[in-house]
């Protein structure tokens, strides 16, 4: 892996950003502008606002256990990718230890799913 491989991607991104910023600027120039207080209020299906004007309300995080599970499985899948590339160069014993690791992950998954389903409040 070399850094040069990323240079074409960077040029590509710069071209795209220039293109779309130009499109936005052209749109601003040619489009009409009729400011109206009703237009700039938060959209609620054409009705007048109900409740607070602030859109960022507080939420019940029913799925917090799932977010924690995501952290664990995301990291472990990274390690599995590193192993998968080198799969055919390992011996059977080495691969077996990783397979046991996958089984351990599965049992972890089973327990955390049971725990998360218990916490769930929207059944």
């Amino acid at each position: 892996m070399a850094v040069e491989e990323f240079i074409p991607i960077l040029i590509f991104q710069v071209c795209l950003v220039i293109m779309f910023v130009l499109a936005l600027i052209i749109s601003r120039i040619v489009s009409p502008r009729n400011p109206d207080p009703m237009k700039t209020t938060p959209f609620e299906c054409g009705e007048e606002l109900i409740g607070s004007e602030e859109g960022r309300t507080q939420f019940v995080m029913q799925y917090y256990p799932y977010l924690l599970m995501f952290l664990i499985f995301d990291v472990s899948s990274m390690f599995l990718f590193a192993w998968a590339v080198a799969f055919s160069t390992f011996t059977l014993e080495n691969n077996l230890s990783i397979i046991i690791f996958i089984l351990v992950i599965s049992s972890l998954l089973g327990y955390s799913l049971y725990y998360a389903a218990k916490k769930e409040s929207w059944k």
């Binding site: 892996m1 070399a2 040069e4 491989e5 990323f6 074409p8 991607i9 040029i11 590509f12 991104q13 071209c15 795209l16 950003v17 293109m19 779309f20 910023v21 499109a23 936005l24 749109s27 601003r28 040619v30 489009s31 009409p32 502008r33 009729n34 207080p37 237009k39 700039t40 209020t41 938060p42 959209f43 609620e44 299906c45 004007e53 602030e54 859109g55 960022r56 799932y66 977010l67 599970m69 995501f70 499985f73 995301d74 899948s77 599995l80 990718f81 998968a84 590339v85 799969f87 055919s88 059977l92 397979i99 996958i102 599965s106 998954l109 799913l113 998360a116 769930e120 929207w122 059944k123």
Partner: protein
Amino acid sequence: MNAVNIPQIVNLQQLIMFIFGVLKSELFFKIIIFPGIFTILITVSELIWLERKYLAKMQLRVGPQYAGRIAGILQPVADFIKLLFKETIIPEKADKIFFQIVPIILVTVAATTLTVIPLSETDVISNLGVGLLFTFAILAMFPILALLAGWASNSKYPFIGGIRALFQQISYEVPLWFSALGVVILAGSLNFVDIVRAQETFWFILLLPLGALIFLVAMTAELERIPFDLPEAETEIVSGWIAEYSGMNYALIMLSLYIKLYFASAMFTALFLGGWLGPSILPPAFWFLTKTFIVALVLMTIRGVLPRVRLADLIKIGWERLLILSLVNIILAIVVKLVLLGVY
């Protein structure tokens, strides 16, 4: 891959010659014309037209009809020009800087995923050694951008949509990774060109049908398409995190969503359907694009026939079905690899 060598520039003439050299170089042609921006925009506008026409036929409507001579084929272009002349409304309470930069980042990031996917053995902008990880790293940015759009709008429906987008996409990211892990085990590489070359005898969809199915379902969720379109459910939360966008910003967001559709089909083609491989009567890029359009048609059919899932079922499908099946898929991939190697 030939990167641009920056020479010693002394005077103006050399600078002009250098710029001309860059413009004439193969890399620039790749970025602008063939696998690059121009091809992406053409393909995506064809996909938009195809989806509208196909869905219209499924729902016994006519669909786009007038723009362009043949069956409204220029409808996306006409829509783009129409949206160019529309007023851009930015809500008064919105975080204006973030509200404005999200569409640009979104469309750029969506198109960046396509730089590492090869249309043929040489038609790839950057033949990245870690291509698959790169695409996954970029896919992980979309929920953050959706949440940022919902947050910056400072409106109730977009905020709910952004939170839902975050939750849905982290739920389906892990099955997506694990289903691609089977392919990596079989191919022994993270580079897309190597992965396609490894499919010369068998396409991986024949060896890993379960993995292909999981990948398709998880990718549908990542794309926020029906049946997993909870972040932008029209009948529940208007348009989700897109609700406050209008005019050119809306056009860019829709463009990014369809670039994601093209990317998902292209990635499925490269991972499971043998990429550019096909009879050598026609050029490899033709086979690649044909397969990509077939995968996109499958996704459109799913959109046409299925209803939306419930939020509680979303978790059940993601964590309790797909994740367990994808762990089974890893074991299956190991077995297939051992049989193919014939070593142990």
